[in-house]
């Protein structure tokens, strides 16, 4: 996937954006590879949306530079960058019908009318809205508006497409469907997609690479698997999926060092207290404090010696609710594979 010889689609060089005292983005370096589906993940206020707005040109860096395929675009207005955006609220023009909305970019470029019509039809085809050209945006459902917004951006063949929380306003079912569809469309058009989300599941499902934002900085960049399996910091471990953080005395007992490490709940095996520790595994004794039966799986809260609570998740492959609930209060032994822990620093 990575081709080091090609110019990055987007490159941030020491980019900062300050709003008064607030450092929304703080000396950020970032490269987005040509043709990838890139996610900017983080809680609200982490600087991800500001980064997106700076790529689009709605906002300008306080310092540092942004390059689009090698060209410094830091001070170029939005209409002079080959970048298009799908807005969170879609921002469709209410006074124009769907066809005119999609054709807007071409109309501004003074593309002849019949070519516009042809390309609008192609786009409507791509987003599966054939025959909707004459509707007004107010007559569309949320999902349909989203598709129009996508078509309106893609018709201009941008070098990079930006998506700002594109699925945030849709209900769960539609969101899952659109995730698949967006991914498919990206593969077909071959354009670099950068999308902003606070939903870690969405980021993991759709993207080739993820940048996890926190307080104006990037905590980690990597493939979804890398981010999930090897979180580089306590923040990433906590924000992407749930994670147990172990530090101090207990950590020392397990790893020989008091450096904090993280372990995912599903990687922990819940065994009986007299079970032997298999080879290559580490183990801890504990007491089950709480059991939450969730149908597909069960979540256990286990207190280990040293006063730390660990969350353990096990699928209900053979057990029933009766079985799992009876474990509450019993002594257990937890064990997991040595390789499944990630050191996350202080």
């Amino acid at each position: 996937m990575t081709n080091p010889s090609s110019t990055p689609a987007i490159r941030f060089n020491q980019v900062s954006r300050h709003f008064g005292e607030v450092k929304a983005v703080d000396q950020l370096d970032l490269e987005v590879i040509d043709g990838e589906f890139f996610a900017m993940l983080g809680p609200s206020g982490s600087g991800k949306t500001t980064c997106l707005r700076m790529i689009a040109g709605f906002d300008r860096p306080t310092s540092g530079s942004i390059y689009l395929y090698g060209q410094d675009v830091s001070n170029l207005p939005p209409y002079e960058r080959s970048v298009n955006t799908v807005f969170q609220d879609y921002a469709l023009f209410p006074h124009m019908n769907v066809g005119d909305n999609i054709a807007y970019g071409l109309m501004i470029k003074k593309v002849p009318k019949d070519e516009r019509t042809k390309r609008v039809d192609e786009m409507l085809d791509l987003v599966q809205l054939k025959g909707f050209a004459l509707r007004k945006p107010s007559q569309l459902s949320g999902g349909q508006r989203q598709r129009v917004a996508l078509a309106r951006a893609l018709i201009n063949h941008p070098k990079v497409l930006l998506l700002d929380e594109p699925l945030g306003a849709l209900d769960l079912k539609l969101r899952q469907q659109m995730q698949v569809e967006l991914k498919a469309i990206q593969k077909r058009v071959g354009i670099t997609f950068i999308f902003v989300t606070h939903d870690q599941e969405e980021a993991i499902t759709m993207s080739d690479r993820i940048a996890v934002f926190n307080q104006g900085k990037i905590e980690q960049i990597g493939t979804p698997a890398e981010i999930y399996e090897r979180p580089a910091s306590a923040f990433v471990a906590g924000f992407v999926g749930t994670s147990n953080l172990v530090s101090g005395e207990v950590a020392k007992r397990v790893t020989g060092s008091d450096q904090t490490f993280s372990i995912r709940p599903e990687k922990i095996h819940l065994g009986t207290s007299n079970e032997a520790t298999p080879a290559g595994m580490v183990s801890l004794d504990g007491v089950v404090r709480d059991v939450i039966y969730l149908g597909l799986y069960t979540r256990y809260l286990v207190e280990v010696a040293g006063g730390i609570d660990l969350v353990v998740v096990e699928q209900n492959l053979k057990t029933t609710s009766m079985d799992v609930l009876s474990i509450k209060g019993q002594k257990v032994k937890l064990h997991w594979h040595k390789d499944h822990i990630s050191r996350v620093g202080a």
Binding site: N75, L76, P77, Y79, E80
Partner: protein, 301 residues
């Protein structure tokens, strides 16, 4: 070409803001606030009694004139009229405001609101004029009074010192009616807005708890509509305070503030005294606005 200009502006957002703000701000600051400031300055000047020229020297002499009995009386007369008009407007506004807020269908509501806002925006002068016709001695109201044989009642009302006069058109009672008529829409709208915010469930709950309709009105509806009444009273009070058309057209020859200002600056050419007189309503309104804000009226605006 335009694109380059547009880019030039894009890179200078502060300049764009300045270009947007400068014309309206300059206009209002220079023309309007400038004039108000000049008015304030002039109120500290005085006029030479012999030459009738303005003496541009700081003095409190002109303000002292305001407290002469004749002028004090003008203030008292105007303020009491403003007060009575405000109370009456508040009472009269209620049924219609309540009907619009709680009973009218959405369609009817739109039309009723248009019916209230049109007199609010339009033809102030013509609306005053209409009462000249109605209140005339030989006019339509007298005709109705005679029709119902109520001349005695009218005579009795007009015989009161201070509010009466030779006829309705020449009496404070007549002025009062016209003031209420003219400013009523300014009261109906905020009261209606406030009533709109009283949840129906609250009214029903009160009834459910055994309150009679009148009790519900007194204990639930009235307190919640009160900010609206205060908001409306800002208009009715302020507008009555500064008006000089109605006292000139209807009513007796006793001066109101507006009339006094009008005649001081006009025939007498005494701008300092007119300016000082105007500061009266301004100060009263500032105090009124401060009280109104404490009572939460601005939320209802």
């Amino acid at each position: 070409m335009l694109t380059r200009l547009s880019t030039y502006f894009y890179q200078r957002p502060r300049l764009v803001l300045f270009l947007f703000l400068a014309p309206p701000l300059l206009y209002l600051l220079v023309v309007y606030l400038g004039s108000l400031f000049l008015l304030l300055i002039n109120s500290f000047y005085s006029i030479d009694d012999f030459t009738g020229l303005i003496i541009r020297e700081f003095t409190l002499k002109t303000y002292a004139q305001i407290f002469e009995p004749a002028n004090r009386e003008i203030f008292a007369r105007t303020a009491s009229m403003a007060f009575v008009v405000t109370i009456a407007s508040a009472i009269i506004s209620f049924p219609l405001a309540y009907y619009i807020a709680k009973y009218a269908s959405p369609r009817l509501k739109t039309w009723l609101l248009i019916g209230v806002t049109i007199p609010l925006w339009s033809s102030y002068l013509v609306r005053v004029y209409s009462w000249k016709l109605i209140l005339a001695q030989e006019g339509i109201l007298s005709w109705f009074i005679r029709l119902f044989g109520l001349e005695g009642v009218l005579q009795w009302l007009l015989s009161f010192e201070g509010i009466g006069g030779s006829s309705l058109a020449l009496s404070p009672i007549g002025m009062f009616i016209v003031f209420v008529y003219i400013w009523l829409p300014y009261m109906i709208i905020p009261v209606q807005t406030a009533l709109e915010r009283v949840p129906n469930s609250l009214i029903e709950a009160s009834g459910d708890l055994g309150a009679k309709p009148l009790q519900t009105f007194r204990t639930v509806i009235l307190p919640m509509a009160f900010p609206g009444v205060i908001a409306g009273s800002i208009f009715t009070f302020s507008l009555t305070l500064g008006d000089f058309i109605i006292p000139l057209a209807i009513g007796n020859s006793k001066f109101f503030i507006g009339q006094a200002v009008y005649s001081y600056q006009g025939t007498a050419g005494n701008i300092p005294l007119a300016a000082a007189m105007t500061m009266g309503p301004v100060v009263i309104m500032i105090i009124y606005l401060l009280i109104a804000r404490r009572l939460g009226a601005f939320d209802a605006l």
